[in-house]
Amino acid sequence: MKTLADLKKIREKAQEDLKLRGGNVRIKIVVGMGTSGIAMGAREVMKTFLEEIAARNLSDVLVTQTGEKGLSSMEPVVDLIEEGKPKVTYGNMNPDKVKKVVVEHIVNGRVVSDYVVATGD
């Protein structure tokens, strides 16, 4: 470690590990974990998100969960929240759909309208 650039490199890597505590987050994924959501495979959905994001090294994407969800007929439900854009809610999710959302929406910035069940607040 000899220069400020070296330090910066260490810092950037370390900041990834601190991401959950409020780092630079571009997109927040909120997986609905209501009882019916879990029954319909919400944990699998969340795990797939985590795996896909880790595999692609998307350090500015945060996956979190919530216990309160109202759309029980379309569980598992997932919200994608992006700074300055309306919230997008996907319904009836499964691992395959998750992979598509990651590639299309998160990486390429194109909403996968087929799965969308609501937008905005």
Binding site: K2, R11, R21, G32, L62
Partner: protein, 619 residues
Amino acid sequence: MSLKHIDLLICCGSGCISAGALKIKERFHEVLKEHSATNEVNIIETGCMGPCDYGPVMVVYPEGIFYKKVTPDDVEEIVTEHFIKGRPVTRLMLQEDDKTFSAQKDVPFYQKQIKVALENCGYINPESLEEYIATGGYEALGKVLIEMKPQDVINEIKASGLRGRGGGGFPTHIKWQMVHDKKDDEKYVICNGDEGDPGAFMDRSILEGDPHRILEGMMIAAYAMGASMGFFYIRAEYPLAIKRIKTAISQAKELGLMGDNIFDTDFCFDAEVRTGAGAFVCGEETALIHSIEGERGNPTPKPPYPAVKGLWGKPTVVNNVETFGNIPTIFLKGAKWFASMGTEKSPGTKVFALTGDIRNTGLVEVPMGTTLRELIFDVGGGMIGDHKFKAVQLGGPSGGCLTVEHLDTGVDYESLKERGSMMGSGGVIVMNEEKCMVNVARFFMEFCVEESCGKCSPCRIGLKQMLTVLDRITNGHGREGDIEELQRLGESISKLSLCGLGQTAPNPVLSTIRYFRDEYEAHIRDRSCATKVCNDLMHYDIDKDRCIGCSLCARNCPVDCISGSREEKYTIHQVDCIKCGNCFDVCPVKAIDKLPGMHPDVVAHRSELSKAVNQYEDL
């Protein structure tokens, strides 16, 4: 990257550890394993999060949910409900006045706080250099070494207006300049982590919670002054602080942030930890220096100041832990930013350890100039129960007490001093109406008598004399003129003592006389302690109308001084009573009263005794 989607920060500051934080941490490991969720959660031990009274506390990210008073039995629910199903456990959140505060940032305790020295405390893992770096750590050092000349560094500190947080409030830049200007082959920088005041735990918490920050601050100081060696003086009672600093030093060395040619410049630096045996006087800088030299920890007269002739006769700067804790941020955010907080003469923030009869005891950091009312009632949450605020002692045994009329005083060096108190290192003891101020003064005096190193006579003999007078006032032998005697002694001890211990030790007595003179007078003239704290100046009495003659009190009296019968009811023989309070506690019908004042029988008995002594002396 990992699959972990939760950071669980468990406070492992001393308060939470004594409330069982480590057991809870173990339990989390077990329960996560049982649910095969170990790979979903990072468990991170942090330093003190502040609200120690709520301990054990923890924060769960990304939501920032704050849980308090968690027990091992709650862990299962947190894991299954919150971690697995995403439903935070409401019953473990702070609930006040029908409101639930789920996120840490909303908890009222944090509202008026601004954290500079405590920025990372309770937020990062203190044993991880990477986490410190992630928060901007060592960037200030790099910037200073690469881009600034030592004199620029001192100028920046001057512009920030930073004053020493160890008690005196001495401008930091002046000390640094003095050492900078001395030409010498060796110079030293010392971090004062002695923290001897009863009730103080600020420095300990910072050392435990964010050790790299202190190390970085020390290195910037060393560069500014041209020192290449530093010492951390930490009392042996703080083993975790010692361990954390040692870990920080070796991590910094491993990464090349310490050692030779740091950031590829000419600056070389090494640091060592020295442990102190826990004497209050060893926090005084000259005593501390002698203690590091291996001599007895006795103060020596100043001048020469350590800046001129310090450790092994070399120019030395001694700074407090919190002082160093402010330095990296001053260079990251700029002197202007720092000076914009606080008051004109006391810029920045101050860390306080809130203790005593308030609801939120703990570790806080507020801008200088915050009023005592905000500190005690907003941050501290006000008094416990229905009790009333009576006084607050700032600055520990060297400080003074302030009262209700001072609640709107802002805390800064000058305002407190004008009113007979002082900033001190940041211990704040809040007292309710049940506290006897004479007794409080006596407590601090006893502490100083024990801690006096005995080198100079005003302190060694004078303080002992003050204690004798206070003893006699509190045990009912006070005399007319005792108050004046205390003032006379106090003022001369302040003037004549060699070091700060003796110079400030009379403060608690002088300030309580200033603001609670009537209590001293009642103790002396009426032989009465209104708060019933001083045993000799209160008594227990059985109300015959309420007494049912059950004899329970008599059977529980350790000195057999209660007699009577079912018909006659029971009576205390006041002269023999040792005020143990057993009778008061056991009486099933609460027929026993605790009353202020010496019982007339005892007054009469004492005057008989003293007559006998006088007659004997007359012979």
